[in-house]
């Protein structure tokens, strides 16, 4: 059975990200009332597993071990129906 997940990886809040800051500054220049911009990556992964619980554990492992680096990134896992 195929189970789909969305993995969102972001730079951890306290860490300076020059790309996000540049975008934030240019949005402010365009007079948008922007307070903060943070940037990241989104992965859509389909997993073959016997149950949703097993698929979720695998997705979590992939997100933590491969898709994100815990030194400077945080991730969120979201099941997609």
């Amino acid at each position: 059975m195929r189970y789909n997940f969305l993995v969102k990886v972001k730079i951890a809040p306290r860490i300076y990200d020059p790309q996000a800051v540049t975008i934030e500054k240019s949005l402010k220049k365009l007079s948008y009332p922007v307070i903060e911009v943070r940037m990241g990556k989104i992965f859509e992964i389909g997993i073959d597993a016997l149950s949703e619980e097993k698929a979720r554990l695998l997705a979590q492992e992939i997100a933590a071990k491969v898709l994100s680096n815990p030194v400077f990134e945080v991730y969120e896992l979201e099941p997609v129906k």
Binding site: P18, Q19, N69
Partner: protein
């Protein structure tokens, strides 16, 4: 003394590193990333470049290559020294053989220029000059680690090179470091680009020769 230059898809400093090692008194050989044995070598060099196109994060995919399993075994067996230059350093960090991580330069763009580096008085570089000029060429050279890790690195004298003027926002200006028993070395500058008479200087040669002497000293 034999040295292996590991070649990943996307590595582009392999031939320069090979030549630099030959000039520094090593017998160099190329080793492809799917090779799984490194026991014959006294030094393993992970050269610079863009392994796997720097996809995901620099070094993040290369760390899963078969040769990295062999590098991990080589380190745990204390067979010899592993040196990662630029992208090679990033691979060692992603693999967890060295602590911390590399992030995008603070200025946000690629930097390619010679920089002055302070050579810390460590076991490896005790007998070379205290200031060297080497080239850097990277987009992701901002070394980061938490305070606890940096403190530990300092206490064990694992910090090898620091930028005189921090070009990329690296924590404490760190440009090169080693693990606690000095068997794994990571450096962001490219010593191989300063090893020949037609290069502007020969400071890189000093770095490679110091590593060769360090390998020799560990044996005796």
């Amino acid at each position: 003394m034999r040295a292996a230059v590991i070649v990943f898809p996307g590595t582009n400093c392999d031939s320069e590193t090979y030549e630099a090692l030959q000039r520094s008194g090593f017998q160099a050989a190329y080793v492809w990333h799917d090779w799984a044995s490194l026991e014959d070598y006294d030094l393993i060099v992970l050269p610079g470049g863009f392994s796997y196109g720097d996809y995901l994060r620099p070094g993040a995919i290369a760390r899963f290559s078969p040769v990295m399993k062999a590098v991990e075994k080589y380190v745990s067996d204390e067979r010899g020294i592993v040196l990662g230059i630029c992208n090679g350093f990033q691979i060692l960090l992603e693999d967890g053989l060295l602590p911390g991580a590399m992030m995008r330069n603070e200025c946000g763009h690629f930097i390619c220029k010679p920089v002055a580096l302070k050579v810390e008085n460590t076991q490896i570089f005790a007998h070379i000059k205290r200031r060297v000029i080497l080239y850097i060429a990277h987009s992701d050279g901002r070394y980061i680690a938490d305070r606890k890790t940096i403190k530990k690195l300092e206490e064990h004298h694992c910090l090898l090179l620091r930028y005189e003027e921090n070009p990329n926002g690296a924590t404490d200006g760190i440009a090169a470091l080693a693990n606690e028993n000095f068997t794994v070395i990571g450096m962001m500058p490219h010593p191989e680009r300063s090893t020949a008479s037609y290069h502007l200087n020969l400071d890189g040669l000093e770095i490679f020769q110091a590593i060769r002497r360090w390998i020799h000293a560990r044996r005796s």
